[in-house]
Subunit: 277 residues, 4 copies
């Protein structure tokens, strides 16, 4: 049923040797642009509106100068860390990415395997094509769950319970998407969920992400119809009250909001502008 | 008589389907550059002198970083607003643009129809090719009038009365054009008012915008001969005294000038550098 | 004898019509690059070392934002001005440029005629190919003289007297050239004074600007052999004491140096980095 | 035995005339890119990671504005200087560069000859292909020695004694390489010490810089296996205690570290980010 990514998988395998020369992230990005195509590539590669923030996200790293102290005795370096109770041996967390079924016939399975094997923490998107339980089953390290809150609050509460029971170690509540960013590439492509994919973490009624009428992309229209756009800090407090999992707030950009997150019971924040999307 | 824009109108219609893919302002700008030509395109597309300010006007938006607050309950968003008594359902006002007869055989009529249908406020240029009264007749929302003050003060006063009687809702007095900017593209093109166009809001003697001798463009020479270059804040106070319409001052760049505008009876200011022109 | 520029003069005349479309300084610069050639063009077009300052001199203007006050009654504008006793009807002074004989068979004569006819002040370079007296004879407005100080102090004093008697209205003492900038284009071209040109304002012994051995350009070697590199503010005071002409110091970049100039009797300063040369 | 650079030497000689037109450092850099090739060029030309610091090292010079004082009496200029007891007639010190045997069959000999003939101070790299003693034998001016500290501390102490006895005038201890930068060009090239080269300043066991397994370049793996990565300021104090030579600390970027260097007995610091490598 999830056959969309099969051709991609074959290409990855055939090009395995080429992958050996991937030395940095830019190499991986260039490689991904060769392998993915058209509207799929645009979905992952594009940003919202004029993509000014998308571009500046990268350029901003080049503006940071590091002035290290010398002779600090760095012969022994330890990359092990623990974040809200989850251990990692490689201190980079894999951000949630939707719909990996567009890139692999096995959906999120290869990604969670690779991430946890590398000692990272894998964050599963609400919009995965693989059910939470199957992801947890193949993980060899902690898995967190990225949460959008539905208009249907009972469905949201049920999802949180399912996430807990499946064995996820933390929740990431996305703060910066009361409505989805207007990704112009998706608008031009009329991007919607590809044939044959569905999102099993969503409730039955809405899991198909059926297109809606409007000037936005069908994908954006479906998302905006499904998720609750009116969240307040009271809703954050509600969420932290119904779960024993640590809740991280993803997508804050201001110090005052970080303080509000702590007041609402959050275990931490993730500074992000949603990748400029 | 106003036949200049007819070929353009045909092209717009023929290309209607292409217009469906206009996703952002840059798309519209690129499309306009395909449809308009030569000195007409240069008139709308160019800026004054080396066009440094023209270019920086766009780049400046990219330098603005927004740090939004999250979880503010934005499920219900209201774009309705009222500005100096005029209602808009789309909170973007259409800036006055001269001589739309160069782009359409129907002059300002298509623009005012589209703007007011979209819920915006349409600002009519003193230099329109369609008389004020015809513009008001087709508008389905508020129309404002952009005002230059003539050397002939009585003609100016008469124009203000005509604007009031026609049913405009506000006046925009342009502050930043004691003389017209030197638009080098216009100089190179010898730009003047095209054959067959006239500007019916101007008095009979000067309405033809007849070319004048000099090193500037014929258009600039005609404008500079017609409009009063010696305005002071006393003249602004005079204008606000002779009309019951709210007067907005367009083209201020300094806070101290904004305070002076209020002292002179203005209802508001419009920060602008005349589009870098 | 001064035949070097004759071919250029013919080209200027043949291309007179093309000159009618010169709308701004960039146009003139582009035109000059068409007419001058090779090492002559490089001499005028180039800067010192990596030309970083040369380029930044232009870019720096684009970083200046002007925030004009509006409604100031600018109908009457007056470009007339007086600078250290010299009147100008166009308030832009023509900076001294060496060796105009490379660009015209008539040396500095066309330039001084054009500058004074336009109401500007013409500043004659020490390194002109036309004698001071001939320049003054054709000028229809004030002429200033740009001064380098010779190692031969008596020759310098004689030159100042000659300038006074010829009828120049002011002296510009160049501050920023104790040695000439290393202009790499000149080094690559082996640039020296062209055959048939000499500099009649210099003393007989040194007027030929004969090439010297070394890794610099022959021109730089000749200049550095001729001019006194060891000037101090005492020498400036000496200069102001031997002349009744106002002395302007050209090439200062610091406020503290401007105060020193006034202390040494200067009538003014000209902020400049020698055009990045 | 050290034959790697012989072809390059021939090319340098054949192209001697071309070298006469090398006017600035950029010319030399361009020339070197013509003469060196492949992984050798990449070793010298590349930087660490994305080469952002490498590029900014050059651009940073363009951001420095100099505001010179004028009329300071600069007719007599003296480039002679003494640094920690070493005299130079040209006040630019030649930074240590490893493995010059890749560029010349005579290893470091041509470079030390040229540098000391020019009146500069030559700094010999620990990783030279020419023994210290041979370098000193051909030098006509001061030679300093750049020091890495081995994991084998006795070998390090022996090396310091050897440097002293050979007649070096100062030690430069590199601070910023507890591990070698990850130079991605070297990773792509699988860069290691070329056949036929060895590094005679290193102890016999490690002098071959034998490749090691891993995802880095063989060169980096060999260096990281050899040098002590755990240096602290106590080790710096140890070094200054076992030698009478002045010790300069190379690769500091912070004022507080400079103060620590003085406390540890250093004679000076060299501000550097290892050339962005």
């Amino acid at each position: 049923m999830r056959c969309v990514g099969a051709a991609l998988d074959r290409r990855w395998r055939r090009d395995y040797r080429a992958c050996m020369s991937l030395v940095n992230l830019a190499d991986y990005e260039a490689r991904a642009r060769e392998l993915a195509e058209g509207s799929t590539l645009d979905y992952y590669d594009g940003g919202s509106n004029d993509e000014i923030t998308l571009r500046d996200n990268m350029a901003a790293f080049g503006r940071i100068n590091v002035y290290p102290r010398m002779f600090r005795g760095v012969g022994t370096r330890d990359k092990n860390t623990t974040v809200v109770g989850s251990s990692a041996t490689w201190p980079v967390i894999i951000a949630p990415v939707a719909l990996l079924g567009m890139l692999s016939a096995d959906g999120e399975v290869p990604a969670v395997r690779a991430a946890t094997a590398a000692g990272s923490i894998f964050v599963l998107s609400t919009l995965s094509v693989t059910p939470i339980e199957e992801v947890i089953a193949v993980a060899t390290g902690p898995v967190w769950f990225q949460l959008y809150v539905y208009k249907d609050r009972a469905a949201s509460e049920a999802l949180v319970k399912r996430v807990e029971e499946a064995g996820c170690s933390a929740l990431e509540l996305t703060a910066d998407t009361p409505i989805l960013g207007r990704r112009e590439r998706d608008v031009r492509n009329g991007f919607g969920l590809p044939e044959g994919l569905w999102t099993p973490n969503l409730t039955a009624e809405s899991g198909s992400l059926a297109p809606h009428a409007g000037s936005d992309s069908p994908f954006k229209a479906a998302i905006d119809a499904l998720f609750y756009p009116d969240l307040t800090w009271d809703d954050v407090a509600w969420l932290t009250s119904i779960t024993n999992l640590p809740v991280l707030i993803k997508g804050l950009l201001r110090a005052d909001d970080a303080a509000r997150a702590v007041d609402a019971g959050a275990a931490g924040v993730i500074v992000s502008n949603h990748g400029g999307r």
